[in-house]
């Protein structure tokens, strides 16, 4: 084929359209590709049918009846419903121990004016909570002191104190349980978690007491007296619902 169009003779890039000048890359290349006519194997048809079945089956299983109001057709897709008390299906939100302690830290804002953010108290005036048997030991003694307050001399970590602690019975069972758990498990303290049910039991037993407790009254309670209620094991998630029973 020969071109007579002068515009095509020299467009740019200093070239002509002469055969000799056609660039090597063009001259050496193979023919334009074309499509062959090999028959399609039966195996390909079979594999295609399998794919169709897979796709259709998937749609059949998950379409939710093509209902415009059905947004959750897939069982097991949502996280499994959290185990809660009987009859309270879904009504109570269950908390993990981690969150329980974090909430306790918020309640502790009530305490830190005297006992200090780090739980060390004020030397000679307000007793520390760090390493104190009063908080890490018997939960019953701890709950009594919190509910009704304390007054008079008391020995903490071997040091005598003499002051007044207000009663906190206006806090809810849950808040008291959370702050007790927090104090028993922070700053190096370690003790069992306190549940809402345990505080409820303490309130029932000691709620009738009038006035603040004293050291002598607390010492009447055995030092290993734990509040009744199902315990919570940090390592065993199945016990965590007990926090809010």
């Amino acid at each position: 084929m020969s071109s007579k169009d002068p515009n095509l003779e020299k467009i740019d890039y200093e070239e002509t359209t002469s055969v000799v000048d056609v660039h090597g890359s063009v001259r050496r290349e193979k023919d334009e590709p074309r499509a062959g006519m090999e028959p399609v194997s039966h195996w390909v048809v079979f594999a295609g049918a399998l794919v169709l079945m897979l796709g259709a089956g998937y749609l059949g299983a998950h379409n939710g009846g093509f209902d415009m109001d059905n947004t959750y057709a897939v069982r097991g897709y949502q996280a499994a419903p959290r185990p809660v008390g009987e009859g309270a299906a879904g009504a109570v939100q269950q908390l993990s121990p981690e969150v329980w302690l974090a909430k306790g830290k918020k309640v502790y804002n009530n305490c830190q004016a005297c006992h200090n953010q780090a739980g060390v108290g004020v030397p000679g005036v307000f007793p520390p909570l760090v390493g104190s048997d009063w908080v890490t030991g018997s939960t019953e003694r701890f709950a009594m002191a919190l509910l009704k307050g304390l007054s008079g001399p008391i020995k903490v970590n071997g040091t005598p104190y003499n002051g007044v602690m207000p009663a906190w019975e206006s806090l809810s069972d849950k808040e008291i349980a959370q702050v007790m758990s927090y104090v028993r498990n922070t700053w190096g303290n370690s003790g069992s978690l306190v549940t809402e049910a345990m505080v409820a039991a303490a309130r029932e037993k000691h709620g009738g007491h009038v006035g603040a407790y004293t050291e002598a009254l607390l010492l009447e309670v055995p030092e290993d007296a734990m509040l009744p209620g199902e315990a919570v094991d940090l390592e065993n998630a199945e016990t965590w619902p007990n926090l809010q029973k």
Partner: protein, 495 residues
């Protein structure tokens, strides 16, 4: 053009070569324009990708003001990659392949270059708009709302000439690549127009906007990047191997399966979300059915190249294109896996989605486009790529970069997703689990940036005709052995 009057196809070697040279020359201006500007955008996109990735590890990295915060850099990176690099590279390669297969010269290169300028102005305004905080925050449609008409109109101006060329074709048989390229010409305006109209002009509920944007993003992959990429592999692989495509019927089945199912994909991104359950289920089912075109394409490519892949060691085009074809298979398999609720429930909101998108946009499409660049640029400029060493550098850094990126994002997504799934653990746990994998992501983007700086340099040299002037030997990745069999040496020489 006088030659258009002679209807009989050129059969003689020299006549045919001269006809090819004429066609190549007619496409030179627009093809080089789209190639060079897309290569520039690729470097910009890779640099933004690297910055946004490092920010996930070191949040105060490049803490120079609001315009470089992660929430702006990441969408700017994705949009530069899609509209700046991907679409422009696809247009450049598509125009040339279409002209070659229709055997007609491009009549109106100036219009195309003008439209190309408007496209670049639109993308620049869009990316700057995102960095200035004007992002619409809608997936892959983050450009400020005034940009989309500019892009839509300039795209229409460009593909109009694709259609004109197709109508004026001088070959009776329509080749597979032409189906794909022609389909993509119509599909982009349909997808882009529909999504923008429904989101910007006739806005409905916010939930539906999210559903539409996920449909759009998926449609862009299955109905634009995949057709353009496959149109290119269907041209380049048989061309270099020198054998006809194995089966026409298989190719046709694959094409129609993609066209039918491609538009139904996408909503599985919101599986378990506040959409009617059948919508994500439909998206998942359609994605599973994309296995059909994948099987057809893979079988066709496999049978076409069977026993002839020795050239892959020497031919840059074949090596990039075949890598891309494997990237396509990997992408489809991954997206099918993620479409199942049982897998997607762990991975849908994790890094795995980034890995999936990158396997499509880079592992498949970009690598195929590199193959097309290496094939087309010498033909339209009339000089050869400068050195094989630069191509080798480009290939290995790109390959290592994308493999690192995809692999670590998929596994990182698993670690992160199982963390998110634990309702009793803090969200922070899942973030911390993904941290180490993100280091690898930055590394991957670093490799990709490095390789594409080299590629941009090489492409710019070609566009100003500073390549090798020798017209007998192509530039190969590695030297042919002296005792190479006749089959290999002739094959490579045609690359």
């Amino acid at each position: 053009m006088s030659s258009a009057k002679s209807k009989q196809p050129a059969t003689g070697g020299n006549d045919e070569a001269q006809e090819r040279a004429l066609i190549d020359r007619s496409t030179r201006m627009p093809v080089l324009f789209f190639f060079t500007s897309s290569a520039v955008w690729l470097v910009i996109a890779a640099a933004l990708g690297l910055v946004s990735s490092i920010k996930l590890n070191v949040p105060d990295f490049m803490d120079w003001g609001a315009f470089l915060t992660y929430g702006r850099v990441y969408p700017a990176h994705m949009n530069a990659l899609i509209y700046g690099w991907g679409i422009q590279a696809g247009i450049g390669a598509g125009l040339w392949i279409m002209a070659r297969l229709c055997r007609v010269p491009l009549r109106n290169p100036v219009t195309l270059v003008v439209a190309g300028h408007f496209w670049n102005i639109g993308v620049t305004a869009g990316v700057l708009g995102i960095l200035c905080g004007k992002s619409t925050s809608i997936l892959w449609l983050e450009f400020p709302a005034f940009v989309w008409p500019i892009l839509l109109i300039s795209y229409a101006m460009i593909t109009l000439w694709m259609i004109v060329m197709f109508r004026a074709r001088r070959v009776g048989d329509v080749y597979i690549s032409q189906w794909y390229l022609l389909a993509a010409s119509f599909l982009f305006p349909w997808l882009y127009g529909t999504a923008n109209l429904l989101i910007h002009v006739f806005p409905g509920s916010g939930v539906m906007a999210a559903a539409i944007s996920s449909w759009f993003a998926s449609g862009m992959i299955y109905l634009w990047f995949v057709p353009v990429g496959l149109g290119t592999t269907y041209y380049l692989i048989p061309k270099i191997v020198g054998r006809p495509v194995y089966s026409y019927n298989l190719a046709k089945a694959g094409f129609w399966a993609l066209m039918i199912f491609g538009g139904w994909t996408g909503m599985q991104r919101f599986m378990g979300g506040p959409l009617p359950a059948w919508m994500p289920a439909m998206g998942s089912a359609a994605t599973i059915l994309i296995l059909l075109p994948m099987l057809a394409v893979e079988l066709n490519h496999h049978m076409t190249t069977k026993g002839n892949l020795g050239y892959i060691q020497y031919s840059p085009t074949l090596r990039f294109t075949v890598f891309g074809a494997w990237g396509f298979n990997l992408f489809i398999l991954l997206s099918v896996a993620l479409s199942f609720f049982s897998v997607g429930r762990y991975l849908q909101f994790t890094h795995a989605v980034t890995g999936l998108e990158m396997s499509a946009l880079y592992g498949f499409f970009t690598m195929v486009m590199f193959g097309a660049f290496y094939f087309i640029a010498p033909r339209v400029t009339g000089c050869e790529w400068l050195t094989g060493g630069m191509i080798r550098f480009h290939f290995w850094f790109s390959a290592y970069g994308i493999i690192t990126l995809v692999a670590f994002m998929i596994f990182g997504g698993m670690a992160q997703g199982t963390g998110i799934d634990r309702w009793d653990a803090a969200f922070e746990v899942s973030v911390a689990r993904g941290w180490g994998y993100l280091v690898a992501r930055s590394l991957g983007w670093g490799f990709i940036l490095l390789s594409n700086l080299m590629f941009l340099f090489h492409t710019l040299l070609m566009s100003v005709r500073l390549g090798r002037r020798s017209s007998t030997e192509p530039t190969l990745i590695s030297k042919l052995p002296d005792d190479a069999g006749a089959g290999i040496s002739t094959g490579a020489a045609k690359a």
